[in-house]
């Protein structure tokens, strides 16, 4: 099949899909393996190079929880390969496509407080009490606050902190 025939067949297929109402998938999402801790730097580099070369790269996602991987949305895999060739901290592009439904867990972040319950053991992740372990005595979902009882303190006194400043370590008796 000559190049002209191929182009003709492609345009016919596109016209057919338009007529049938089936949407042609234009963007593809790929996973890139990077050096751990360098995800944001790699994402910035890709966006800068894509903007400079006017490459069809539409979005770059760096999840806060997934170490060593970033996701790139582009028109095709070769555009990503061109952009990252010779780049520092980029290990490889993983074969296969990533579905957008698989990325939902990284995009839609559920508030931490939704999962917290009284008697849960938590660790304070911010503020002056950072690193201390505590037990939840009260959960106020409306105000997004939790009242804690520090486990490491000699005197037990209730402390109220924001729901985002705790991380659950262990489920309490009620949650089990």
């Amino acid at each position: 099949m000559s190049e002209e025939d191929k182009a003709e067949a492609k345009s016919e297929a596109e016209a057919e899909s338009r007529e049938s109402g089936v949407e042609v998938e234009k963007t593809q999402i790929f996973a890139l393996k990077t050096t751990s801790g360098q995800e944001v730097n790699v994402a910035n580099m890709i966006s800068n190079r894509a903007a400079a070369n006017k490459a069809p790269i539409y979005a770059v996602l760096v999840s806060g929880t997934l170490k060593g991987y970033i996701f790139v949305e582009a028109a095709g895999p070769h555009f990503i390969d061109d952009i990252v060739s010779g780049a520092k901290h980029v290990r490889q592009r993983l074969p296969g496509l990533i579905k957008i439904s698989e990325l939902e867990r990284y995009l839609i972040t559920k508030p931490v407080i939704e999962e917290l319950e009284v008697d849960d053991t938590v660790e304070v992740v911010g503020g002056p009490l950072k690193g201390m372990k505590a037990k939840i005595t009260k959960v106020d979902k409306i105000k997004n606050e939790v009242t804690l009882e520090l486990l490491e303190a000699s005197i037990t006194m209730p402390i109220t902190v924001g729901g985002d400043y705790v991380r659950r370590l262990e489920k309490g008796r009620r949650g089990k």
Binding site: S47, A59, G64
Partner: protein
């Protein structure tokens, strides 16, 4: 200047006012970065309801 994220629209900015929603409520405590280069074509951008290209934080505290 340190980069901070707008609490309302999650846009990562360097100044004191978010150019997107003109608010000054910015936070330096954020995780995850989403760079949208073409909001019209990006499926991720559409999913997040982003209409303007830029760098966005996924979670802002």
């Amino acid at each position: 200047m340190k980069e901070r994220a707008c609490v309302k629209c999650h846009l990562i900015v360097y100044g004191n006012i978010c150019p997107n929603c003109k608010e000054s409520s910015l936070s330096d405590d954020f995780t995850g970065v989403l760079i949208i280069l073409d909001p019209e074509k990006s499926e991720i951008g559409k999913k997040m309801g982003i209409t303007r290209a830029g760098r966005y934080a996924l979670k802002v505290r």
